[in-house]
C-alpha cells in the first residue's frame, strides 16, 4: 500500500487562502458559529446557498452541469477549510461528496442535467438511504424492496438513521429488486433516487442523544419511482455503491470533526504558556499531520483513478479514533466544564465533541467492519 505524498501548487495555496478569508469574514459577520462535527450536524441551507454562490458546490464537476472542473485536490482544500473552521455545511455535504460523483459515473444524461445544476445551486440536497432497522453492518441484507410496475417501481419498506432526511429533497436509496438469496446476497440490489416529498414517503425524526433532530426514519408505502430515477443498472446497486465508499471514507471529515476543539486548546495553552501541556499536545499534532498525509494521498490516488478502497478504510478507521481521542486528551490538559450552551468556547466544543464522538466510529462503516476489510485485503494481497 503505497500512497503519494502531499504537495500543493502555488495556485492551490492561493485557493486555500481565498476560501479561508471568505469563511473568516462570514464568521466575523456571524453568518455561522464554529462548531464541532458540523459537517454532518450543522445543517444550514442559507449558508449552503452562500457556498453555492461562490461556485463551491460540485467544484470538480463539468461546467455544463454547473461545476468548475477543478481538481480533486482543490476540493480537498475547500472541504478541509470548512472543517477546520467548523462551518455548517451538512445540508449540501452528501450531494456534493457522493451524489454528484455517483451520477457522473452511473447516471443518465437526463439525471445529470436535472440534478447536478440544482445541487451546485444548493437547491437540491440528498440523503443516504442504506441502513435499515435490521440491516446495519450487514448491509447486503436490506429488505426494502421494489416491484416492477408499468413505467417504474413500487417501493415498500423503511430506512433508518438517515442523516438530514428532514432537510433533504431526495435520497439515494438502496433497495432490493430481486429476492434475497444467501449465496448471492450482493446481487439483486439497486440504487434509486427517491423524492422525499413523494406520496407514500414519510420521514420521522429520531432524536440524537443530545435531543437534537439529526437523523430520521424514512418509511415507504407503495412509493412509485419512475424508471428514469434508477441509478445505473438494475441489480448493480451494490457494486455502484462500493465506488461511493472511497469518497465517503477517506475525506478530511474523518479526521477533523473535532478540530475546532484542538484549535481552541492550542490557543488556550499558548495564552497560559503551558509547556507541559503543550508537550503532550504535540502527540496529537503529529497524529493529525500523519493522518492528513494519508488522507491526502488517497485523494491524489482517487484523482489518478487508483484503487483506494483499502487505504480509504484505513483513513476512516484511524482518523475517527483520532477525532474521538481529542476531547479525552483535552480534558487532561486544562480545566473544563462542558455544556452545550457554555459561553466559553472550549466548554462548548468539548460538549459537542464528547456527545457527538460515539457516532464517529459507527457511521460510514464501524471500525470493526473496517478492520475486517483491511485485514482481508492484506491477507489476500
Amino acid at each position: 500500500m503505497k500512497l503519494p505524498s502531499s504537495q500543493f501548487t502555488k495556485d492551490q495555496e492561493k485557493f486555500r487562502l481565498e476560501v479561508r478569508s471568505f469563511l473568516q469574514k462570514e464568521l466575523a459577520n456571524r453568518t455561522f458559529e464554529t462548531a464541532c462535527d458540523s459537517w454532518l450536524s450543522g445543517c444550514n441551507p442559507q449558508f449552503s446557498k452562500k457556498i453555492a454562490e461562490q461556485g463551491w458546490i460540485g467544484l470538480t464537476w463539468p461546467q455544463k452541469y454547473g461545476g468548475q472542473e477543478r481538481s480533486a485536490i482543490d476540493r480537498y482544500i475547500l472541504t478541509e477549510e470548512f472543517l477546520a473552521i467548523g462551518a455548517p455545511v451538512a445540508a449540501h455535504w452528501i450531494a456534493d461528496r457522493q451524489t454528484g460523483p455517483l451520477l457522473l459515473r452511473y447516471g443518465t444524461e437526463e439525471q445529470r442535467s436535472y440534478f447536478l445544476p440544482r445541487i451546485t445551486n444548493a437547491e437540491c440536497f440528498f440523503a443516504i438511504g442504506l441502513s435499515e432497522p435490521n440491516s446495519g453492518s450487514d448491509l447486503a441484507s436490506v429488505s426494502t424492496n421494489a416491484k416492477k410496475v408499468e413505467g417504474g417501481w413500487l417501493v415498500n419498506g423503511a430506512k433508518t438513521w438517515t442523516s438530514n432526511a428532514h432537510d433533504a429533497h431526495f435520497m439515494i436509496t438502496l433497495v432490493r429488486t430481486a429476492p434475497y438469496s444467501k449465496e448471492s446476497k450482493h446481487s439483486g440490489l439497486s440504487q434509486m433516487i427517491i423524492d422525499l416529498h413523494d406520496k407514500g414517503v414519510s420521514v420521522k425524526p429520531i432524536k440524537y442523544l443530545t435531543g437534537e433532530h439529526h437523523f430520521n426514519e424514512v418509511f415507504f408505502e407503495d412509493v412509485f419511482v419512475p424508471d428514469n430515477r434508477i441509478v445505473g443498472t438494475i441489480g448493480e446497486g451494490w457494486k455502484q455503491g462500493l465506488a461511493e465508499l472511497a469518497y465517503e471514507r477517506s475525506g478530511p471529515e474523518r479526521i477533523l470533526s473535532t478540530f475546532p476543539l484542538l484549535e481552541e486548546i492550542y490557543s488556550i495553552l499558548k495564552q497560559q504558556q503551558n509547556k507541559e501541556a503543550m508537550n503532550r499536545l504535540t502527540e496529537l499534532v503529529a497524529k493529525l499531520w500523519s493522518l492528513r498525509n494519508l488522507s491526502l494521498g488517497v485523494a491524489k490516488m482517487l484523482e489518478q483513478g487508483g484503487e483506494v478502497a483499502v487505504p480509504a478504510a484505513l483513513v476512516k478507521a484511524m482518523g475517527t479514533q483520532f477525532e474521538q481521542s481529542i476531547p479525552e486528551m483535552v480534558r487532561l490538559l486544562t480545566e473544563t466544564y462542558p455544556t452545550m450552551d457554555a459561553q466559553k468556547m472550549l466548554d462548548r466544543y468539548m460538549a459537542q465533541s464528547i456527545l457527538h464522538s460515539p457516532g464517529f466510529t459507527i457511521r460510514g462503516g464501524t471500525t470493526e467492519i473496517l478492520y475486517g476489510i483491511i485485514a482481508k485485503d492484506v491477507i489476500n494481497g
Binding site: 484549535e263 503543550m278 494519508l294 478492520y371 475486517g372 483491511i374 485485514a375
Partner: protein, 347 residues
C-alpha cells in the same frame, strides 16, 4: 520516485535479500559483524551513496540515502550502515574529507568534548555506535572560539564495549588529548540543530524499514499458523491486530515519504519532529501486536522477530528522541503567532 531511484532501490533489495539471512543477523550477538555484506555493498558503491563524485562518492541525494537506510532497517543488517554513510555525509556537508576507513559519529547539542588550542580533543561519549570497529569519529567539539565539527582518530582512544537492547555495539569511548585529523570552521547552533534534524530523519527511515519488516513477517505468520483447525488470520481479533499493524506501517511510510519530500524542498523543520513523534506510537503498537500474534514462538531466540523488535526498542532511545523533540516542537508552538490550522497548512 524517479525511475533511477526505483532501480537503485530494487538493486539494493536484491543484494540484501540474497546475502542476509537469519544467521547473518545472528552474528551480532556473537560479537561479529557481516563483513562480507559490507564488502558487497562497498563494491556496488552503495556505501558511497549521497557523497559527491568529486569527493570520491557515488553521487545521489538524500532520498537515495534514505531509501538505502530504510532497506537496511528492513533487513537488520549487522553492519554500521547508517553510521558510516551518515558520518561521511556530514563530513562533506561541512567541507571535510569523507573517508574509506571505518567511521562513526556522535552528535549532541551540548558537545561531549573540548578542543584545545593545539588541536587536541578530550572528552567521553557514553554510547558510540560501532565504536570498537571505527577508526574515526565525527563529533562536535567545544573550542575556544566556539563549536567545531571534528574528525578524530580512535586508535589511541579508550574503548569500553557495550551494547544496545538489540546487541548492536554501543561503546563507551574516552578521548584524552587526541590530536584531531580535521576540523570545520566554527559552526553555530542552527547548524548543529540541522545535523541533529538530519540524523533524526535518517533514523526515522531506518525505523520505517524495521516496522515494515515486522508487519510483513507477522502477516506471513498468520497465514502459516493454524489453531482450532483454522489459519489464525481467520480469527477476528487477529484481524484487528493485522489492521492495526497495517495502519501503523502505512502511516509511518507515508510520514517518512512526506518528510523526505519536505527535506528536498527544505521545509523540514517541523516535518522531521512530527514524523519522529508519530513513530513513537507506531513502535509501541507494532512491537506489541507483532509479539502477541506470534505467541510463544516470537519470544524465542530461535525466531527472528526479536531482531527487529529489539532494534525498535533500541533506536527509539538513541539520538534525540520523542521527549526532546516534543519539547522542542512545543516550544515552537508556544511561540508561534499562527493558529494550529495555519501551522499545519503552511508549507
Amino acid at each position: 520516485m524517479s525511475e533511477i531511484k526505483e532501480l537503485l532501490v530494487k538493486t539494493m533489495e536484491k543484494i540484501f535479500k540474497k546475502h542476509i539471512t537469519k544467521e547473518t543477523v545472528d552474528l551480532i550477538d556473537e560479537g561479529q559483524w557481516a563483513d562480507d555484506v559490507w564488502e558487497i555493498l562497498k563494491e556496488n558503491g552503495l556505501l558511497a551513496a549521497c557523497i559527491s563524485e568529486k569527493a570520491g562518492g557515488a553521487g545521489g541525494d538524500l532520498e537515495d540515502l534514505f531509501s538505502l537506510l530504510k532497506i537496511g532497517g528492513k533487513y537488520a543488517v549487522p553492519i554500521p550502515l547508517m553510521e558510516y554513510i551518515f558520518s561521511n555525509y556530514i563530513l562533506e556537508k561541512f567541507h571535510l574529507a569523507p573517508t574509506d576507513e571505518m567511521i562513526t559519529y556522535n552528535l549532541s547539542d551540548t558537545p561531549n568534548c573540548t578542543l584545545s588550542e593545539n588541536g587536541e580533543v578530550s572528552g567521553a561519549f557514553p554510547h558510540v555506535a560501532w565504536g570498537r570497529y571505527a577508526s574515526n569519529l565525527v563529533t562536535i567539539a567545544k573550542g575556544s572560539g566556539g563549536n567545531y565539527l571534528v574528525k578524530v582518530p580512535l586508535k589511541d582512544a579508550l574503548v569500553k564495549e557495550g551494547a544496545n537492547l538489540a546487541g548492536e555495539p554501543r561503546d563507551y569511548i574516552k578521548l584524552t588529548a587526541i590530536p584531531i585529523l580535521e576540523k570545520s570552521r566554527i559552526i553555530d547552533y542552527e547548524q548543529i540543530e540541522e545535523m541533529i534534524l538530519l540524523e533524526t530523519a535518517a533514523k526515522c527511515a531506518v525505523i520505517a524499514g524495521t516496522l515494515e519488516k515486522i508487519y510483513e513477517s507477522t502477516i506471513e505468520y498468520t497465514k502459516q499458523r493454524q489453531q482450532f483447525g483454522r489459519y489464525i488470520h481467520r480469527f477476528q481479533l487477529i484481524q484487528h491486530h493485522i489492521a492495526q499493524l497495517a495502519g501503523e506501517t502505512v502511516i509511518v511510510d507515508s510520514a517518512v515519504d512526506n518528510m523526505m519530500e519536505a527535506l528536498v524542498e527544505k521545509r523540514h523543520r517541523h516535518e522531521i519532529p512530527l514524523t519522529r513523534i508519530r513513530i513513537e506510537e507506531a513502535i509501541r503498537t507494532v512491537s506489541a501486536s507483532a509479539h502477541q500474534v506470534h505467541g510463544a514462538i516470537g519470544v524465542t531466540y530461535e525466531h527472528n522477530l526479536h531482531h527487529y523488535t529489539r532494534r525498535l526498542w533500541s533506536y527509539r532511545d538513541e539520538g534525540r528522541g520523542h521527549l526532546k523533540w516534543s519539547q522542542k516542537l512545543s516550544r515552537d508552538l508556544l511561540q508561534s503567532n499562527n493558529s494550529m490550522w495555519e501551522f499545519l497548512t503552511t508549507y
